[in-house]
């Protein structure tokens, strides 16, 4: 049972990790904890629902379409609520993200109702048994896509000009501007990227956990916790934090007490942060 519990933990942990990537990215580019991250997943999930289930567009076409439209919506959101606050104190931006999260969540509820929608499985939800361990194909896909994205993101942020510009803009906006970096454009691009990533997470979990207006709340919070655990300035850390949280939650339910599942997982997280405040993979602050 132990291996099975770990495998299930890795599956949900990959989802947390994908969410955490968005937090890490926003932290690195905007220096803000973006509490509307979960809503990006919700937007992604509803986009694919609309394109694939309502308009019957084949999945291979609907998938990029949903990511693109979510990213576009991300651009509009940052232009409306985040960009005007770039010059302000960080707490203003934090509050703007909280407000945006509440707004998007309730907007979705008004439009689509509070009931969840089913979404057909794309990668297969019938388990395959390997030895005496059951593996669900779609979980493998979620984990694989998660890791691929981490590698791509790392390359993008450390090897490409645009990626370096993004990080420079976050570290010191004025100096970056003096060096010829178009700061606002660069920040907008990060936002679009982060929203696209969040949408990807939402898309991947839609067949597993359904599509609902408030879905961003719980996975967004877990994603935030994972990012802090892994280190907000590290995309690899975000993924590691997610996997660790997922596995801890499952082992807590399996071996200690399901009534205290979240409490145990978060206690361990607090313990780790006492000894490594910058997170597991984060640089010393």
């Amino acid at each position: 049972m132990f291996i099975q519990q770990v495998i299930q933990g890795l599956a949900i942990g990959s989802v947390y990790g994908l969410m955490a990537l968005g937090y890490a990215l926003m932290w690195q580019a905007w220096a803000v904890l973006d509490f509307a991250r979960g809503e990006a997943a919700m937007i992604g999930a509803f986009s694919i629902l609309i394109f694939h289930s309502f308009f019957k567009i084949p999945f291979v076409v609907a998938f990029p379409l949903a990511i693109a439209s979510s990213a576009l919506l991300g651009y509009v959101i940052q232009w409306l609520a985040y960009r005007p606050l770039i010059g302000g104190i960080p707490i203003n931006r934090l509050i703007a993200t909280l407000g945006m999260g509440i707004l998007l969540r309730n907007l979705a509820r008004v439009i689509y109702g509070a009931d969840p929608y089913p979404f057909p499985t794309v990668f297969g939800d019938k388990p395959v048994s390997i030895g005496n361990v059951l593996v669900v194909p779609q979980n493998v896909w979620i984990t694989a896509i998660g890791f691929t994205l981490v590698i791509l993101l790392r390359v993008f942020l450390t090897r490409t000009y645009t990626g370096k510009a993004m990080r420079a803009a976050a570290q010191d906006r004025e100096t970056a501007a003096l060096m010829g970096i178009r700061v606002k454009q660069s920040m907008a691009l990060t936002f679009v990227l982060a929203t696209g990533l969040g949408a990807m997470a939402g898309l991947l979990v839609a067949p597993v956990y359904f599509v609902r207006a408030d879905m961003g709340l719980s996975i967004g919070l877990r994603g935030f916790a994972s990012a802090v655990l892994g280190g907000l300035d590290s995309v690899t850390g975000a993924m590691v934090g997610g996997l660790l949280l997922g596995v801890t939650e499952n082992l807590a339910a399996g071996y200690i007490s399901s009534g205290y599942q979240a409490a145990i997982a978060f206690s361990i997280m607090i313990l780790i942060l006492i000894f490594r405040p910058q997170g597991i993979m984060g640089r010393r602050l």
């Binding site: 049972m1 099975q4 519990q5 299930q8 933990g9 599956a11 949900i12 509070a114 009931d115 969840p116 089913p118 939800d125 019938k126 388990p127 059951l134 669900v136 979990v205 597993v208 956990y209 359904f210 609902r212 408030d214 879905m215 709340l217 719980s218 996975i219 997922g246 939650e249 499952n250 082992l251 807590a252 339910a253 399996g254 007490s257 399901s258 009534g259 599942q261 979240a262």
Partner: protein
Amino acid sequence: MGRLGKVVAAALVLVLVASFAAGCSSSKKDPIKIGIVAPLSGGAAMVGDTLVKGVALAIKQINAAGGIHGREVIYIAEDDEQIPAKSVSAVNKLVYNDKVDAVIGTVNSSATLANMEVTRKAGVPQITPISSNPKITKLGNEWIFRLQASDEHQARAIVDYAINELKLTKPAVIYQSDDYGTGGKDVIVERLKELNVNPVAVEAFAPDAQDMTGQLLKIKNAGADGLFMWTMYAQAALIAKQARQMGLNVQLMGGGGLTNPKLVELAGDAAYGLLNTQTFFPDKKGASPEAAAFIDAYEKEYGMLPDSNAAMSYDSMMILAKAMEAAGPSLDKKKVRDAIAATKDYRGVTGVITIDEYGDASREILIIRVKVGGGYEVVWPKR
């Protein structure tokens, strides 16, 4: 919802005007006034709507049969938006401005807990068709009655069926860790103990949890042969799907919160065969003669099938009417209250109803099963 609210309101005005006009022409006596408090706008407006429909149909039939003590019955409906404070104002208006003879409502348990203080102080009998919080009838308020089976009755019924009929010996329990889930779990565990059965696992999950595989693996490992779940249909769909994926193929069972077409829509074939309790089910074939007649009349009147809420509301009005007949033409409110409290073996559309010492309807509870391909069938009681 706003538009629906307006349509409902307009319909109510029409009904009121019509019944007033009818009252003027046909009878010199004042009509008997029933106050309805329900959410007619906001998120629960659909539920409030079926509540009014159920009561209105009962009143129509009562009037067609000559009214109560020869007097016509009318109703006045007030919207509470399922907000406790608004609910109190609404009942204040009904009791003190409209001077209603009795109140029926409301949906939301918190709102009922708030507004029932108004009827208690004024000494006006009140029946809530579907608020299910056990506290409502346990606060010593003798003016409030409830028709919905409380979660306590429902949980006991499904346990009895599982142990006595299905002969399960190693059941497990999974519940959401809030008032609703914990309350249900406590009753299940207690009832199992009374029947000398030990649950092999009792597992919790957070109300917003998406991944229950940790708990389900533990339950599978404990060798469970059945799983009680006390949660709502969306989480139940997740549990059903994930149990199937983890190879936990056991009988799934639960309470009234699971009855919803969404369950099968979300969980697909993993939900087939799931059993849960229900007090009313719009299935003419398996229905009692009373229920079948009601389903027909409701469908004819509104062009849709009644839900359990409409049926509870219909029975509320019928029990009230019977009590008013029994209380005598003066319609003394204390006598009406006593007559409601004395309700015994009333054959309503939601089953045979007896009001217990707390004001709760103790009644027969149905067990329904999700059919292969979707839809429900009644498996208990056997007819």
